[in-house]
Symmetry: C2
DNA sequence: TTTAAGAATGGGAATCATTCTCATTTAATG
DNA sequence: CATTAAATGAGAATGATTCCCATTCTTAAA
């Protein structure tokens, strides 16, 4: 536990952010579970000791500092994950029955091809492409709920 | 114009949906512009003659009937596009300065590799992967607004 | 250590997109 | 045309996110 809060403090210091209880809590939590978490996940784990508005601000701050990254699940819920240097570029697989999110690396070969293709596409459209995302949606056999989907 | 409404009526009939003014309008519009449109785009073009709630329902109906498909831009705005049989599987490139969305086809080779990779990933995670999306984000030189992004 | 100044927080109001409700209108069918 | 189910319009309700402001922390200097 202390390990994780130390990690959090160090990270904040490194990025020139002030060390506050909500920020440390959020970072420790993300490190502890090492998986993308939603606003509600974090609120529940904090037993609602953090104000919702604070959580949004903390995430925005951490995101601007590139300490975390945010993205949306198919049901449009905001998800946050740590953005370590050692954490390599990766993509996500969403299971719509059990609502889990898995990190997926495409591998050098494919990622390389994609890079090449992207620069070609960028030229064609005269657009400087800075980012790409590749996401997969599926379901394990647990249920047929499709609970990650809106509609 | 008449061409487009005929197209719309035919499409609705083919899919067993009743022909109503809002549905015909939306489909004609999508065909006329042949580009993904947002809720606001459609409302403006309709000069607000369609109720907002109706538009949402119409899009849900058309989407369930697989006549259109919806997806979200990086700023989380809902976008709709026609889903013709002749329109092949494709992906999207978002320009964050001029807010345009471009259709992009990856090409057989890459799409084939991705399919193979996906089935491998599906096995690894014991998940039946039904869909994938590949999106690119960039900006042309028009402005540096990044207006498609939230934050 | 104390203190001052700015930064961050909590709580609640405001905003925005989307969904829901229900009374009224319309489409399809014979 | 009349009937009946389906669709619509208008606005209320909901849910997520942002905004506001008074209060509380953090930090760094004295
Ligand atoms: Mn991840
Ligand atoms: Mn498209
Ligand atoms: Zn699952
Ligand atoms: Zn552009």
């Amino acid at each position: 536990m202390a390990m994780n809060t130390d990690y959090a403090r160090t990270l904040l210091k490194q990025h020139g952010l002030t060390i506050t209880e909500p920020r440390v809590f959020v970072l420790s939590l993300l490190r502890k579970f090492d998986t993308p978490m939603s606003i509600n996940d974090i609120m529940e784990k904090s037993k609602h000791t953090i104000a919702l508005s604070t959580l949004y601000r903390v995430l925005a701050d951490l995101s601007h500092a590139k300490i975390v990254t945010t993205f949306s699940s198919p049901n449009q819920k905001l998800l946050v994950e740590l953005l370590d240097e050692e954490r390599e570029h990766h993509h996500h697989l969403y299971c719509e029955s059990c609502e889990k999110v898995f990190d997926v690396s495409l591998g050098e070969e494919l990622e390389g091809m994609i890079e090449k293709l992207i620069s070609k596409i960028g030229e064609t459209h005269q657009i400087d492409i800075q980012e790409h995302s590749f996401e997969m949606y599926g379901s394990c056999n647990n249920t047929g709920q499709h609970s990650l989907r809106r509609n």
